[in-house]
């Protein structure tokens, strides 16, 4: 079951690799095709696109929620898209972190329990995970006193930082961020970006960041415009 092992164990493979990926919804109408997308461990990609350009579909493909109609998605050398949905879920729990636009947390759980969710589904919810969760929260500026608070009691900015802690707890190979700064003001946005990329770098995590905010491009070496997917776009430098 090599597919179940964290992909960080296999640095010789790209973090994520999409080859000749085609996806369309039934009945076929709108179609998205991506001839090739390769991201090495630790690389950060910025994806921009207008509403309806297929950002959500791409994120669902990358996270393994849906499988491509054609082509293949490899996660750390594992043919991710060819696995059964159940195995994709397990692999996602261990190797992919997700940060949403807002409302990232389950409001009725404590901050710490929200962070530990990813460890639970990755099958490693133990004392070590708990310690690491507290450490991550501390690094993100959330002290131990906040850890036992209900998630709903935190500010939006704090909630987004908890989401980063949850996404990075299992040291995932890939972090998918879906417009996570859209609900933040300029100061909080910059602080959030700094913390996100700093922690991702510390974990050697590849980041795929989706936003319509062109101002955030500065943080990323690689960029992709969803409008160009139909022609098949290579990530540029």
């Amino acid at each position: 079951m090599t597919g179940m092992k964290p992909v960080t164990d296999k640095p010789i493979f790209p973090a994520i690799e999409l080859k000749n990926v085609v996806f369309y919804y039934q009945p076929a109408g709108w179609q998205m095709s991506l001839p090739e997308l390769i991201l090495q461990p630790g690389q950060h990609l910025f994806i921009k696109g207008a509403s309806g350009s297929g950002k959500t579909t791409l994120l669902n493909l990358l996270a393994g929620i849906i499988a491509p109609r054609q082509g293949e998605i490899m996660l750390g050398g594992t043919p991710f898209s060819r696995l059964s949905p159940g195995k994709r879920d397990t692999l996602r729990a261990r190797n992919i972190g997700v940060v949403f636009q807002q409302l990232n947390l389950i409001s009725y759980l404590s901050v710490l329990d929200n962070v530990l969710l990813s460890a639970h589904f990755a099958g490693c919810n133990n004392a070590e995970s708990r310690q690491r969760a507290l450490l991550l929260l501390q690094r993100l500026g959330l002290g131990a006193d906040l850890a036992e608070q209900q998630a709903a009691a935190l500010s939006v900015g704090q909630q987004q930082r908890v989401a980063i802690a949850r996404a990075l707890l299992t040291k995932p190979a890939l972090l998918i961020a879906d417009e996570p700064t859209s609900a933040l003001d300029a100061d909080n946005r910059d602080s959030f970006m700094q913390v996100l990329l700093e922690q991702a770098n510390a974990c050697g995590t590849t980041v795929i960041f989706v936003s319509h905010d062109a101002g955030l491009r500065q943080y990323f070496a690689l960029q992709l415009d969803m409008q160009n997917l139909a022609q098949g776009v290579q990530p540029c430098c």
Binding site: I66, P85, A93, V98, F100, L117
Partner: protein, 418 residues
Amino acid sequence: MLLKLARQSLWNRRGTALMTLFSLTVSLVLLFGIDHIRKEARQSFTSTVSGTDLIVGARSGQLNLLLYSVFRIGNATANVSWDTYQRISKHPQISWTIPLSLGDSHRGYRVLGTNTDYFSHYRYANQQTLQFASGQPFSGVYDAVLGAEVASKLGYQLGDNITLAHGIGAVSFSEHKDKPFTVTGILAPTGTPLDQTVHVSLEGIEAIHIDWQQGAPMPGRRVSAEQALQLDLTPKSITAFMVGLESRMATFVVQRQINEFRGEALSAILPGVALAELWQMLRMVENLLLLITLLVLVAGLVGMMTTLLASMKERQREMAILRAVGAHPWYLFLLIQLEVLLLTLIALLLAAVTLVVALWGLQDTLASSYGLFININPFSLQSLYWAGAILLASAVLACIPAFSAYRRALNDGLTIRL
């Protein structure tokens, strides 16, 4: 974590969860309560008479004989002559007899003429003997012993005088006012028709009718209470009599002999068999009650399912987050199922506690007002079967919101825009 999620999710929606819990608990209390009372009522009903092997009356159907002799409902078609009663009483297999003479009343309560054997041999509710709350059995011709309800409802005490009326109406124009009775004893509550009975001696019944004929006073003949005492008050007939045998092995033999008695057309019935037949007739009502409570339960379960189904939309974000961190759609299915299981289990527990407390609180009222002696422990092996069936039914119904969560998890993916 699954249990924690289910528990905290319910707590997060505690307003609707509590309402669901409340309606489910009420349904379960009704179901278990009615089932328990139904069983206890049957038990109490069949315990009205205990330890009596045969009841003998004039030839009639066994239900009619049972109803008027035990439950004081209806009237006998004919009487049994005193001679016949005396002859049968002397049967070597018969240990004791209790003569019963009915036909009079006091303010709507039936009057029973009998002898003191009644107080020593009559048993009810699993061989319990009659106990006196105050006073003692009658000894004089004009003494009366009141059932508990007669004394409490009419406010009688020892030494009070009462007059009997001819017939069984609540209001009578044919009263035996010239021969009043004195209350010498009040029985403790039994939860049987005895509580609604005025007991007097057979001689007392004979005395009040000594100057009566065909249900009316004989014109021109008046016998005072004192004069009556000087006369022979041996009854000429009685309504029925109860029989206790030396050995139960002889029950069918003695029954057949009485039924074939040549001197008079008689019927001897086994009270247990007659009670079972009577209860069988009431089963339809019993089943109807059970059906209604089952429907109430179904309504409670459907209510729970509807509430969960309605909450699915507002829980889309929660489901998306769980999916994002690696939860399989089946995990979400199980989460909903577990929430339903928790709600049902808590409702079962609450219903059990509520029922025990309610039965404990109502035990005396049910006994004194309705004659139902209820055991406060409503649980039996069948209760466990019920609980299992309810859990299963709730799990089946929960498949609808659970499947909805599963489908949404597959369709919505990671990005739910709110």
